[in-house]
């Protein structure tokens, strides 16, 4: 496993590339991806939390700076947020590598509804791996994309508690929630 962080020295935010690499290594082990080679590219000019992954050799993760940020102290590093952001991205990579997500659009081409449903699936699994997760945040995100009603809430729970869904199944639940 190799983890490379770009840039190696940050100019705007107060992040340390070694610290980011250490968290990434920890997450790769936690998710059973210890043999994965990773390049993490941080765009420090953007204060957003977006994480975009591209499966390849090595795996490439593009991160907007707020994904690793301590939101209480802007421009400073948060290991917890880094763990959480990388965890979500790496789970998408793992899903894609499983063969059950071959028909899923690339990260860049995911619609906001597709992104929300996959985030729900990923964060639910991260919570069971012991990461600190605020479920209501993801429930609100799901409702924003699927509707504020009881039927959508039931579908959220179905995805949140699942561990072995395929892209086809995820899409079907999502479409059911919107219907």
């Amino acid at each position: 496993m190799t983890v490379t962080v770009e840039p190696s020295i940050f100019k705007i935010v107060k992040y340390d590339s070694d610290e980011i690499a250490a968290v990434a290594t920890e997450m790769l082990k936690l998710l059973g991806m210890a043999s994965t080679n990773l390049i993490i590219e941080v765009d420090e000019t953007i204060a957003m939390s977006r994480v975009t992954t591209t499966v390849g050799e090595p795996v490439h993760i593009l991160v907007m700076s707020s994904a690793f940020e301590n939101l209480k102290k802007p421009m400073t590093f948060s290991a917890d947020n880094t763990r959480f952001s990388l965890g979500r991205g790496l789970l998408r990579v793992r899903d894609r590598q499983s063969g059950h997500f071959d028909d899923a659009p690339t990260d860049e081409d995911l619609s906001i509804v597709e992104a929300a449903v996959w985030e729900t699936y990923s964060v639910g699994r991260l919570s069971r791996l012991g990461l600190k997760v605020h479920k209501q945040r993801w429930h609100y995100n799901f409702r924003n994309r699927h509707g504020f009603n009881d039927a959508a809430d039931k579908d959220f729970e179905k995805i949140w508690t699942a561990d072995d869904l395929t892209w086809k199944q995820l899409s079907e639940i999502s479409q059911h929630a919107i219907a």
Partner: protein, 278 residues
């Protein structure tokens, strides 16, 4: 009880971390760019169609919540800091007391909305610039800075959040923002009425107050947070501002100041990137 309370002494529990406006402005990062972000959205306006809409709305809601706390503290100070009759009319203080009542209700509503949206209190940094604008030693400047500039911004923010709730189908958000918006229009109108009344025979004082309002407006444009450009998340709510007593000329001035703030932030980001060592 102490008068003219300094911003750095505001009481908060350990959940909150405060930042001054200078600290906030030292962050040159943008919230839009080319590539992935540009592909994902054609506008920065805060609508549910933005990929980051949920988190952006949560962050803004938290900003509203701490802003309401500071607005309550500011209006409360104005009730107490000035001698009744000599420095501030009783009726003005009565209006400020009414505002305290409104702001306390807004704090409660904002806390509940934040929880509904999945935000922990204190999760985001608290910018103390609102209370800083309420520290002027002249009550007229406070009315100009807080009631007209800041509560004016609140009109823009609540209008945007109300529309966000309507578009997303979030019944609580749309309903609560609509009710708070009605209060904000009243607060701005109180500021407009008292500013004109107190400075009726003192054009110099009125000029100073309006200059102060303009400065606060620029600071609170948040480097382009609010303007009439699609690059700003918050749209200038002209109609509600008219109801609150803003003239066409004043609205045009605020729009110009906001656009200038947006351009300054863009230039600052470009400068930072150009001057950074490779």
């Amino acid at each position: 009880m102490r008068k003219f309370f300094p911003v750095q002494d505001l009481a908060r529990d350990e959940r909150f971390n405060q930042a001054t406006n200078e600290e906030r402005m030292s962050d040159p990062r943008g919230t839009s760019n080319t590539g992935v972000i540009r592909k994902a959205r054609s506008t920065n306006r805060l609508t549910p169609s933005r990929p980051d809409a949920t988190d952006a709305a949560r962050s803004l809601m938290h900003g509203i919540m701490v802003g309401e706390i500071q607005a309550l503290e500011g209006a409360g100070r104005t009730c107490f800091d000035f001698v009744t009759g000599e420095e501030a009319p009783f009726a003005l203080k009565l209006d400020m007391a009414r505002q305290c009542w409104d702001e306390a209700r807004h704090v409660e509503i904002s806390v509940k909305l934040s929880e509904w949206m999945g935000t922990e209190l204190g999760q985001f940094v608290e910018n103390t610039v609102l209370f800083a604008a309420a520290c002027s030693q002249d009550p007229v400047l406070r009315l100009a800075g807080v009631n007209r500039a800041l509560e004016g911004l609140a009109i823009d923010v609540f209008t945007t959040m109300k529309e966000f709730g309507e578009l997303a189908g979030d019944p609580y958000l749309a309903f609560c923002e609509d009710w708070m918006l009605a209060d904000e229009v009243t607060h701005v109108k109180m500021g407009s009425v008292w500013l004109r009344k107190i400075t009726e025979d003192d054009p110099e004082r009125r000029k100073k107050a309006l200059e102060f309002q303009s400065v606060v407006d620029k600071i609170f444009s948040y480097g382009g947070l609010r303007s009439e450009s699609d690059e700003s998340p918050i749209l200038l709510a002209r109609r509600f501002r008219e109801l609150a007593g803003f003239s066409d000329g004043e609205l045009t001035e605020i729009a110009d100041v906001s656009l200038a703030a947006l351009n300054e932030r863009r230039e600052a980001l470009e400068k930072t990137l150009a001057s950074s060592p490779a």
